[in-house]
Symmetry: C2
C-alpha cells in the first residue's frame, strides 16, 4: 500500500500550459475522480467498479469507432450531462479512446479540461502522449483533429495485467523506435532483457515507461506543432503506415517492418553501417516483431505517394546515421520507387 505522496511526477511545458505525468499510481487508492470519463466497452466491462461513482460515456472499442459520428455522440452526451468547460474529462483507454477523448475535449465549448489514463503499453509510451488527437474520415486516417495537451496523464500499470501479448509487442515496436532515434543506452538495455522480464516486473516496466515518456515528451516540447523535430518520431512510419493500410496488420508489426525499410534506406543514402541495421533487425526479432511483409511493391508505392509528408515529387523521410540518432531528409519519391524491391526485400 502506498501513500498518495509516493507518486512520482514529471512535468513538461507547452505554450498552452503544463502536462503533468503521474507514474505507477495505485489502481485502488489513487484512481482519480474527474467530472466525466470516456472509455470503451472493453475497458468498461473489465473495470466497471472503477467508474461507478463517475458519469461515464462508453464508446465502442476499435479503430472503426474513430469517426465524427462517435464525436457527435460524445458531444451530445456532454451536453445532456450539463458538463461545463471548467469540468475535467478523463479518457481511460488505448489510442482510440485518447484520440476521441482528446478531440472531444479540445472542441467542446472551445476546449474543456482534459486528463488521460492510457491502458495499453503503446498508449503509455506513444499514443497517449503529445496532444495529437483526431478521427478518420472515410479511408483517410486522422484527417481531422487538433493538438491539445491534457493537464495530467495517469500511468496505472494494473491495466496491463489483462493486456494481450500482441499489444505488448506493439508497444515494444515504438519503444525500439525511441531507442533507435534518441537513446542508444536503452537500445543496449533492450538487447539484454526479454519481453517476459518487462511483463513480469512492474519496477522494470515503470523505469522503461518513464524513460520513453521523457524521450517523446522532450521532442514534442521542442516542436509541439510538428514542423521540425517532431518529424523524427515518424521513423519507420512512412513505409509502416503504407504496410499497415495495405495488409491490415497491427500498427506495431507494420512499424517494425517500416523501421527495417528505413534502416536499409539509411544504409544507402547516409551510410548507416550494415552491422547497425543487423542490430535493429535482431532486436525487433528478439521481441517477436516481423521483419518483412509479403506485399505487392507497386501497390505499396501507390500508398507512399499519398503520404502526408509528401511534398510534390519528394517526401520527408527519417533516416538513422547511427543507432540513437535520427535526422529528416527530403528524398525523391523516384528513388524509393526505383529501389522499392531491395528496400522491402
Amino acid at each position: 500500500m502506498k501513500a498518495t505522496n509516493d507518486i512520482y511526477k514529471q512535468s513538461f511545458s507547452f505554450p498552452s500550459g503544463t502536462v503533468q505525468c503521474l507514474f505507477d499510481i495505485s489502481f485502488d487508492e489513487q484512481f482519480p475522480s474527474p467530472t466525466v470519463i470516456i472509455t470503451d466497452e472493453n475497458v468498461f466491462a473489465f473495470h466497471q467498479n472503477k467508474f461507478s461513482n463517475t458519469k461515464t460515456i462508453v464508446i465502442p472499442a476499435g479503430e472503426e469507432a474513430k469517426t465524427q459520428a462517435t464525436v457527435d455522440y460524445i458531444i451530445n452526451q456532454l451536453i445532456d450531462l450539463e458538463i461545463s468547460k471548467e469540468d475535467t474529462l478523463l479518457g481511460v483507454g488505448g489510442g482510440v479512446v485518447s484520440d476521441l477523448a482528446g478531440y472531444a475535449a479540445a472542441i467542446y465549448k472551445r476546449g474543456m479540461k482534459l486528463q488521460l489514463m492510457p491502458t495499453t503499453l503503446l498508449g503509455m509510451i506513444d499514443a497517449g502522449l503529445g496532444g495529437k488527437n483526431g478521427v478518420n474520415v472515410g479511408r483517410y486516417k486522422n484527417m481531422v483533429g487538433t493538438i491539445y495537451q491534457p493537464e495530467k496523464i495517469w500511468f496505472c500499470y494494473d491495466f496491463l495485467s489483462t493486456l494481450p501479448v500482441h499489444e505488448w509487442r506493439s508497444g515494444m515496436a515504438e519503444m525500439i523506435k525511441h531507442a533507435c532515434i534518441a537513446d542508444e543506452q536503452m537500445f543496449d538495455m533492450l538487447e539484454k532483457i526479454q519481453l517476459e522480464d518487462i511483463m513480469g516486473d512492474f519496477k522494470k516496466l515503470n523505469e522503461l515507461v518513464q524513460r520513453n515518456v521523457k524521450i517523446k515528451m522532450n521532442i514534442v516540447e521542442q516542436d509541439e506543432l510538428d514542423k521540425s523535430d517532431r518529424h523524427l518520431l515518424n521513423f519507420g512510419h512512412t513505409f509502416g503506415h503504407a504496410i499497415e493500410k495495405l495488409l491490415g496488420i497491427t500498427h506495431g508489426s507494420a512499424i517494425s517492418i517500416g523501421m527495417v525499410c528505413a534502416c536499409r534506406v539509411s544504409e544507402k543514402l547516409i551510410g548507416l553501417h550494415s552491422s547497425a541495421t543487423q542490430r535493429v533487425l535482431n532486436l525487433l526479432e528478439h521481441y517477436l516483431l516481423p521483419l518483412e511483409a509479403n506485399t505487392n511493391s507497386e501497390e505499396l508505392f501507390e500508398l507512399l505517394v499519398k503520404d502526408k509528408k509528401r511534398v510534390g515529387d519528394d517526401i520527408h523521410f527519417v533516416l538513422l546515421p547511427q543507432i540513437g540518432q535520427a535526422k529528416t531528409e527530403i528524398i525523391p519519391l523516384s528513388y524509393l520507387h526505383q529501389n522499392i524491391k531491395e528496400i522491402l526485400r
Copy 2:
C-alpha cells in the same frame, strides 16, 4: 489606384504566432490569391469574378448553415481538392463564414494555414477577430469549436457597398460596446457623427475600423483563452444573448438592449452615474438601435440561467464603473431574478 505597399498593417502576437491585419485593401488590385476560398452563396453571387481563378467552396448563407453537417461538407471538399496543411484557406464572408472557415482550418489535418476577409462591419470589428470559431449543436450556439488565429485578416471596404443598413447597425452596436468598455474618446466621437457619415466616407470608416480592431485584438492578446480580461467583451451579451434567443431579433439589436440592461445593473451595484446610462441610451438611439424589448421576464430569466458564464447560483457579469471602463463581477442570479422587471423596464 494604390500601390501594394500602400497597405497599412497592424500586427498582434499570440503564443501560436502573429496575426497581421491589412487595412483598406483594393478590391481590384490587392485581392489575395490563396489556395482555396470558403464563401457563402450570397457573397459568391455578388463577386463571382473574384473567385474565378481559385478553388472555391461555396456554403449556404445564414446561421442555419453553422452546423457539423456543413463542416463535414467542407472537409470532404478539402480532401477531394487534395489540399495540404501547408496550403492557405481564405474565408470570405460574414460571421458564419469566418466561424466555419476558421473551424475547418483548425481541424483539417490538425490545422492548416488560415486567412480571413470579413465582408460585414460586424465581421471587421468583432466576429472575424480573435480566433474564436465553431458551430451550433441543435439549439446550443457555438457549443463546439476552437480558438485558432488566422495568419492574416484582410479589410476590403468595397464589400460594404452592398451591405444592408440593418447590418451596419449591428456593427455599430459592437462599436458602441467597445467605446463603453475601453475608449471614452471614441464614445465622444460617435456622439458627434451620424451613421451616414461612416457609410459615406471610407476614410472615416477605415479610421474607426482600425481603432476597433486595436481595442478588440489588444484585449484578446492579453487573454486569448478567455479566462479573464476577454470576458469584458461580453458587456451587454448576458441579457443580449437571452433576448436574441427569445425574440429572434438581430444580434446587434439584442446586444443594444443588453447594454441598456447592463448599465442599469451597473447603476445599482457599482454606482454608474445615471447620466452615463442616459448617454449610452442616447448613443444607441442615435444609431437607431432599440433600447427595450417586449419580453416575458420569467422566460428571459430561464434563459439567463443557462448562460455559459453561470457558475452555480452566480453569474459572471460585465459592469461599467464609468464610460470607457469595464469590470467583471460575480453576481447572484437571485439578484437578477428579483430585479429583472426594473432592469428590462
